[in-house]
Amino acid sequence: MAKITYITSDAKVHEIEVQNGLTVMEGAVQNDIPGIDADCGGGMACATCHVYVQDDWYDKLSAKEDGEEDMLDMAFEPKKNSRLSCQLIVSDDLDGLVVNIPSKQS
């Protein structure tokens, strides 16, 4: 279990306890947090679960797999701290993670 904080583009803060093994994307979708579309369902094929990871967390996350960076090329306003939330698997280590959701996914 990890507490994940999702901040939507209107600055609303959603603190959610997400089960280990789920992805950060699934944590958002299952709790109806707006702004994460996840059109492809977690297949790293659409870049609509794009989030900005807060800087102090970015280096602590697992490295991007091949293909994630390629998909991020397609994302809406990608930045240095961009990740696809379907590729972030929740574990105790992620307790306290804060992600910002972009204003749009496409």
């Binding site: 297949g43 659409c46 960076e69």
Partner: protein, 338 residues
């Protein structure tokens, strides 16, 4: 007006197999898809990625699966309407009247929506002012490359489309290629070619830059770009081309009076019918308790929806369930028996 027993919206794996089932039980059908090719997400999103959970097919790619499904449709004569988007679905006295963006009109008792996550549309520039220039000096595909001759073109993106057009247009235009990082994800040969042309001064390369604004009066004049270190540049451009792949949008489906749950359509699990009689939804776009977004589920849903179509298309006949191994009429339709 085209009359048919069933109109299928979407030519992905579910739409293709649904067509197979409809033809097998002796009905006619036609298929409309917004993409210019058959295969849906399989061909657009993961043509090279192996799939491991198609029953009796231990491993196949999205492209192979599509090819096999097309092969399976060979005995049947099915009309495809590709590169067309269904805009409107309305009921007349008896049938559904379906209109596409190209002005085609269908009349049918059965509409099967096998639309995946919606229709594929080009991903656009995040900068809102680009809309003002769209289809005049901002484009997301190239229809007529002659308009770029002797002009300055800014190409955005790092995949094959962006690179191929940068190479091609550099012959007769001044090309700026802008990409958000150093690495390109196109074919290595094309990436090498782009770097060579950049060295020769035929392509201006701006890596780690993204668009922040566009300027111009009616016609595009220049584009502001910025890198990760907040360094800004203004580049002159007569045209901007964006190649950021495709995005799926539910689009007009939202306006057809169907019960939706987020971006999916609610159906029953007997006929896969929506709240509108004669409109069905199958594959990734439908939802019901326990729904799995698997290709195999789409096949099952299509098979049942096809049987439901029979009742509305042939109200005076009785549908009889038959096996392809033994039924003479099915084998005739499959071209295996005279």
């Amino acid at each position: 007006m085209i009359e048919t027993d069933a109109l299928i919206i979407g030519a992905g794996p579910t739409g293709l197999f649904t067509a197979h089932q409809i033809k097998l039980i002796g009905l006619d059908c036609e298929i409309v898809d917004n993409l210019d090719k058959v295969g849906g997400q399989c061909i657009e999103l993961y043509p090279d990625k192996p799939i491991y959970d198609i029953p009796a097919v231990p491993e196949c790619t999205g492209e192979e699966l599509t090819k096999n499904l097309i092969n399976q449709l060979k005995p049947f004569d099915i009309k495809f309407h590709l590169g067309e988007r269904v805009e409107e679905v309305k009921k007349d006295d008896v049938n559904w009247i379906v209109k596409t963006n190209n002005g085609k009109i269908f009349s049918t008792p059965n509409v099967i929506i096998a639309g995946g996550v919606g229709s594929f549309e080009p991903r656009k520039f995040p900068v809102k002012e680009c809309e003002k220039f769209e289809n005049k000096s901002v484009f997301y595909s190239v229809k007529d490359k002659k308009i770029f001759e002797g002009k300055t073109v800014a190409i955005f993106g790092g995949g094959d489309s962006a690179l191929d057009w940068a190479v091609e247009l550099s012959k007769n235009s001044k090309v700026n290629l802008i990409h958000r990082r150093e690495e390109f994800r196109g074919a290595q040969a094309t990436v090498d070619k782009v770097h060579l042309l950049a060295k020769e001064g035929k392509i201006n390369l701006f890596t780690k830059y993204q668009m922040i604004s566009v300027k111009g009066n009616g016609q595009l004049e220049s584009i502001d770009i910025k890198n990760d270190h907040d360094e800004k540049k203004n580049i002159k451009a007569d045209y901007a081309l964006g190649f950021f792949g495709l995005i799926m949008q539910l689009g007009p489906i939202a306006n057809w009076g169907l019960n939706l749950d987020k971006k999916t359509i609610e159906v029953d699990t007997e006929k896969f019918e929506t709240n509108q009689k004669g409109i069905y939804a199958v594959g990734d776009i439908c939802t019901y308790p326990g729904k799995l977004k698997l290709i195999l589920s789409g096949f099952h849903e299509g098979a049942l929806a096809a049987r439901a179509c029979f009742k509305l298309a042939r109200p005076d006949e009785k549908y009889r369930f038959e096996f392809t191994t033994t039924s003479t009429s099915l084998l005739k339709r499959l071209g295996k028996k005279e």
